[in-house]
C-alpha cells in the first residue's frame, strides 16, 4: 500500500516540477497559455513561442539528464557495491567531458561527434577503473572507487591543460559546460532514445542487480551470469552518463543523492529503484534548473552550483543519520 503512495508522490513531484519549470521565467507565461498550446488552440503567440522554443525543450532536457544521471548513479552503486559511487565521483563524467573537449579541439564539434567523444571517454574511464582495480579478482568496491577518484582528478587536470594551452575560442564554452549548461540547443531525440533504451535494459536486469548487491559469489549462487550482467551494467551506466554529459555538460551530485533519497522511502528492489530514481532524478534536476534560472533572474547560475548546494548538505545529513542507526 505504501508503495502506491510512494509512486503517486514521486509522479506528482515530477508533475509539479515540470509545471513550475514551464511557468517560471523572465517572460510571464500563464497556465492558460500552456493549456492553449497543449490543446492546439491559438493563444498568445509570444507565450506560445517562449513555451515551444525555450521552456519545454529546456525542461525536457533537464528531466532527461536528471533521470539518466540518477539511474547511472544507481547502476554504479550496484557495480561497486559502494554507496559513494556516482558518475561524477568516479570520473566517468570527467572522462566524457575530456572526450567531448578532444572532439572540439580536433575541429569536429557538432552534436553527434561530441556525443561520440564523450561516450568514448566514459567507456574508457569505466574500463580503466575495472581493469586497473582488478575487477576479475573480485576487488572490493573501495578500491574501485579510489581508482575512479584518482581518474576523476586526472581528467580535471587534463581539462585544465586543454584550457591553458589551447587558443580555440570554442573552449570558452567548456568552462561553463563543466558546471552544467542546460541551455544548449541540440536535438533531444537521441538523448531520449538513449534514456529509454538504457532504462528498458536495466529494468530487465532488476533481479540480477538485487543479487549483485550481496556480492558476486552470492549472485552466482543464485544463477546470475555475473560477468555478463556486469558488462551490460558498465556499458549502460557509461552510455547514460555520456549522453547526459554531451546534452548538458557535467553536473555533480544528482547521481549520488537521488538513489539514496529514493532508498530513504524503503525502496530496495532495483526493479523499483531504477524507475523511481529516473522519476525522482528528473524532478530534482528540473527544480534545480528552475532555481538556477530564477533566483538571480535575468542572470543565470550554473545548474551544477545549485545541485551542489542542495546535494552536499543532504549527503552529509544522510551519512550522519546512517551512522546513528
Amino acid at each position: 500500500m505504501s508503495r502506491i503512495v510512494f509512486w503517486i508522490a514521486a509522479v506528482l513531484s515530477l508533475f509539479v516540477a515540470v509545471l513550475s519549470g514551464t511557468l517560471a521565467g523572465s517572460v510571464p507565461v500563464g497556465a492558460e497559455d500552456l493549456a492553449a498550446l497543449l490543446g492546439g488552440e491559438s493563444g498568445d503567440p509570444v507565450a506560445a513561442t517562449i513555451l515551444r522554443e525555450v521552456r519545454l525543450p529546456r525542461v525536457a532536457r533537464a528531466a532527461l539528464v536528471g533521470g539518466m544521471l540518477s539511474v547511472a548513479g544507481a547502476v554504479f552503486q550496484v557495480l561497486l557495491r559502494n554507496p559513494l559511487a556516482d558518475p561524477y565521483v568516479l570520473g566517468v563524467s570527467g572522462g566524457a567531458a575530456v572526450g567531448a573537449i578532444a572532439v572540439v579541439l580536433a575541429g569536429a564539434g557538432s552534436g553527434w561527434t561530441m556525443a561520440g567523444g564523450s561516450l568514448a571517454g566514459a567507456l574508457f574511464t569505466v574500463a580503466v577503473v575495472f581493469l586497473l582495480a582488478g575487477a576479475r579478482r573480485g576487488a572490493g568496491g573501495d578500491r574501485l572507487l579510489l581508482t575512479g577518484v584518482v581518474l576523476a582528478s586526472f581528467w580535471g587536470a587534463l581539462v585544465a591543460l586543454f584550457l591553458s594551452v589551447s587558443q580555440n575560442e570554442r573552449l570558452r564554452s567548456v568552462l561553463f559546460w563543466l558546471m552544467g549548461d542546460l541551455g544548449q540547443t541540440g536535438a533531444l531525440a537521441g538523448t531520449a532514445a538513449a534514456f529509454v533504451a538504457g532504462l528498458a535494459g536495466l529494468l530487465v536486469l532488476g533481479r540480477s542487480m538485487d543479487a549483485l548487491t550481496y556480492g558476486d559469489r552470492h549472485a552466482m549462487g543464485l544463477g546470475v551470469a555475473v560477468r555478463e550482467v556486469r558488462a551490460v551494467l558498465y556499458v549502460a551506466g557509461s552510455l547514460l552518463t555520456a549522453v547526459a554529459v554531451s546534452a548538458a555538460g557535467t553536473i555533480g551530485f544528482v547521481g549520488l543523492i537521488v538513489p539514496h533519497a529514493v532508498r530513504l522511502f524503503g525502496v530496495r528492489s532495483h526493479r523499483e529503484l531504477v524507475p523511481a530514481s529516473a522519476v525522482a532524478g528528473a524532478a530534482f534536476l528540473v527544480l534545480a534548473d528552475t532555481a538556477a534560472r530564477t533566483i538571480m533572474s535575468p542572470i543565470e547560475l550554473p545548474v551544477g552550483v545549485v545541485t551542489a548546494f542542495l546535494g552536499a548538505p543532504f549527503f552529509l545529513w544522510l551519512l550522519r543519520r546512517e551512522k546513528k542507526s
Binding site: 523572465s26 521552456r55 564554452s173 561553463f176 541551455g183 535575468p298 542572470i299
Partner: protein, 320 residues
C-alpha cells in the same frame, strides 16, 4: 648610469627568488653573462604617473619596449613606435608586423623570465587583462613598468597621448589621438538628439552572455547612440537566459563573433519573431577584435555600431 644598476639589481632579485632552481653557491655566476646583456641604457629619464598612481622614472626615448596587452601593442604601432617593440603577448596579432615580434607569454599570465630576458627600457602593462600579481611582481623586480589604464572609451585618446610620451613618440600619438577624437565627435554629432535605440550585445553564444554597465562595451553602445538593455545587472559580463533577451525586447541585436560562425549565430534567433530586432531583420555580427580591445580600432567598432543602431544618421554625406 642608474638604470643599468637597477636592471642588474632586478636580475639579482629575480635569481634570488628563483634560487630553488639554481644551485646556491654558483647562483651569482649565472648573473655574469646576463649582466653584459644589460648595457644598452639611456642617459636621461622623465617621470610619469601611471594608472596605479605611481611615479615612474623612464628613459627619454626608449628603444626596447615590451607590451603586455593586444590593445597596447596596437596603440604602440599606431603611434609609430612599432620598431621599438621587442616583446608582445601571444594574443597580439594586429597589425601584421606585430606577429613577428618575439612573444613574452600569455595575456593574463606573461612570463616574468621572458620579460626580463627582453631587457626592456619600458614595460607597458594594463590592469584590464594582466593579472595584478604579475604586474606587481615585475614592479617588485625593479623593472621600469608603466601601467596604462583607460576606464572608458572617451579616455582612450588621452591614454594614447600618455603612451606616446612614455614611448618618446609624442607627435605620432598626438595625430592618432586627434583622429580618434575627431571620429568620436563625428559619431556624437550624427547621433545627437536621436532616440536611444534598445540594443542587446551578445558577448558569447553558449551559454548566452551579455554586458552590463560594468563593461567597456556598454560604453561603446552608449557612444553609438544605443541603450544597453542589460545595463543594470550587477555583473560586468552576465550570463542571461534566452527568454530574458526576448523579454528585454531589443530593437537591434549585435552578436560578437569571428566571421565564419556569423550565420549560425544569427539563425539561432530566427524563431523569436516577438523580438523587434528579429522581426525587423536588425541582427548584426560584430568582429569582436574591433570592440573588445580598448585600443585605436575600438573607434572603428563604435562607428560600425552606430551605423547599425542609427542607419539613417549615416545616409547623409559627412561634414558639418
Amino acid at each position: 648610469m642608474p638604470e643599468m644598476k637597477s636592471i642588474r639589481a632586478a636580475l639579482r632579485r629575480f635569481v634570488r627568488r628563483s634560487s630553488p632552481f639554481f644551485p646556491g653557491r654558483f647562483r651569482h655566476i649565472l648573473l655574469l653573462p646576463v649582466s653584459f646583456l644589460v648595457l644598452g641604457v639611456h642617459a636621461h629619464a622623465g617621470t610619469f604617473t601611471d594608472a596605479l598612481g605611481r611615479k615612474v622614472d623612464l628613459p627619454d626615448s626608449p628603444r626596447r619596449i615590451v607590451s603586455l596587452a593586444p590593445h597596447l601593442t596596437e596603440i604602440l604601432f599606431a603611434i609609430g613606435a612599432g620598431d621599438s617593440v621587442v616583446g608582445v603577448t601571444s594574443f597580439c596579432d594586429y597589425p601584421e608586423a606585430a606577429r613577428r615580434v618575439p612573444r613574452i607569454g600569455g595575456f593574463s599570465d606573461p612570463s616574468i623570465e621572458l620579460v626580463l630576458a627582453a631587457r626592456p627600457d619600458v614595460v607597458i602593462a594594463t590592469l584590464v587583462g594582466n593579472r595584478r600579481e604579475s604586474v606587481e611582481e615585475l614592479i617588485r623586480l625593479g623593472l621600469p613598468v608603466y601601467v596604462s589604464g583607460a576606464e572608458a572609451i572617451g579616455e582612450i585618446p588621452r591614454e594614447v597621448r600618455r603612451i606616446g610620451a612614455v614611448a618618446g613618440r609624442a607627435e605620432g600619438a598626438e595625430s592618432a589621438a586627434r583622429r580618434m577624437e575627431g571620429a568620436l565627435a563625428e559619431i556624437a554629432r550624427r547621433t545627437a538628439g536621436r532616440r536611444r535605440v534598445a540594443v542587446y550585445y551578445q558577448l558569447w553564444d553558449q551559454p548566452l552572455m551579455t554586458v552590463s554597465d560594468g563593461s567597456f562595451i556598454h560604453d561603446a553602445i552608449r557612444l553609438a547612440g544605443g541603450r544597453n538593455v542589460f545595463a543594470g545587472l550587477s555583473v560586468a559580463n552576465p550570463r542571461v537566459s534566452l527568454e530574458a533577451v526576448a523579454a528585454a525586447k531589443p530593437e537591434v541585436m549585435i552578436l560578437s563573433g569571428m566571421g565564419k560562425e556569423g550565420a549560425g549565430l544569427a539563425s539561432r534567433w530566427s524563431r523569436f519573431a516577438m523580438i523587434p530586432a528579429v522581426a525587423g531583420g536588425r541582427i548584426h555580427i560584430m568582429n569582436s577584435d574591433l570592440l573588445h580591445r580598448p585600443g585605436p580600432r575600438v573607434i572603428e567598432g563604435v562607428e560600425q555600431l552606430s551605423r547599425w543602431i542609427h542607419p539613417d544618421a549615416f545616409s547623409e554625406r559627412p561634414g558639418r
